[in-house]
């Protein structure tokens, strides 16, 4: 069974440019999470989806970050415009539901110059 797929694995952009990350969860997983992981720190939840509904986006900086999960499967996280401080690893995870084990993808490492 395929795990959580994320692309791209690495992205380098100049500040003020837009960037998007894509996540394909494990088939059948209704819950999808986006986490931000700064270097040397633990991940922090940005947003959680139950199917196509964002049920917890309290940590998402809505002035520049947006996310969507059309049809309750794949998800896209966007930053526009990117700032230097956005350099980090963006992790996607999925689970059958919010009471089950979360499976993580390999992450996208973003570098903003």
């Amino acid at each position: 069974e395929a795990g959580v797929v994320q692309s791209p694995r690495y992205k380098i952009i100049e500040k003020k440019q837009p960037v998007a990350f894509w996540c394909n969860p494990i088939s059948g997983h209704n819950t999808l999470y986006w986490y931000l992981q700064n270097l040397g720190q633990g991940p922090e939840l940005l947003i959680r989806y139950e199917n196509e509904e964002a049920v917890d986006d309290s940590q998402l900086p809505k002035d520049r970050f947006s996310a969507e999960r059309l049809k309750g499967v794949d998800s896209t996280l966007k930053i526009q415009p990117a700032e230097l401080g956005d350099s980090a690893v963006y992790l996607c995870a999925s689970s059958l539901d919010h009471n089950n084990e979360q499976f993580f993808g390999p992450g996208t490492r973003l570098t903003v110059l």
């Binding site: 986490y35 720190q41 959680r48 993580f104 992450g107």
Partner: protein
């Protein structure tokens, strides 16, 4: 607010020896879950072990076991017979029931020496 603290930024252990990683947490909830995750240099986070707060018995998974002290809000991970493949960053995490939200500690980098 719930917090998770890992006070050991780095630990090292000799291959085949035992090592214990520490974790403390703060919560006012009575129903919650605690986890240890492993993140090798490739960055794919893997669940090592999970403990339900209502269970008094400490969870074990092969060479991995926890010492869960609910009153002290302590949740340490013991790795027995350490192997080179155990080298990774280890994160302690907390989840409040029915939220699915994981709150992670700062992580402990474990080095395994041959």
């Amino acid at each position: 607010a719930q917090t998770v603290t890992q006070s050991q930024p780095e630990m090292s252990v000799q291959e085949a020896e035992t090592v214990t990683l520490s974790c403390t947490y703060d919560t006012s909830e009575s129903d919650y879950y605690l986890f240890w995750y492993k993140q090798p240099p490739s960055r794919q986070m893997i669940l090592v072990i999970r403990q339900e707060a209502y269970k008094q018995q400490n969870a074990t998974e092969n060479r991995f076991s926890v010492n869960f002290q609910k009153a002290a809000k302590s949740f340490s991970l013991k790795i027995s017979d350490s192997q080179l493949g155990d080298a990774a960053m280890y994160f302690c995490a907390y989840s409040y029931s029915n939220t699915g939200k994981l709150i992670f500690g700062q992580g402990t980098t474990l080095q395994v020496k041959p």
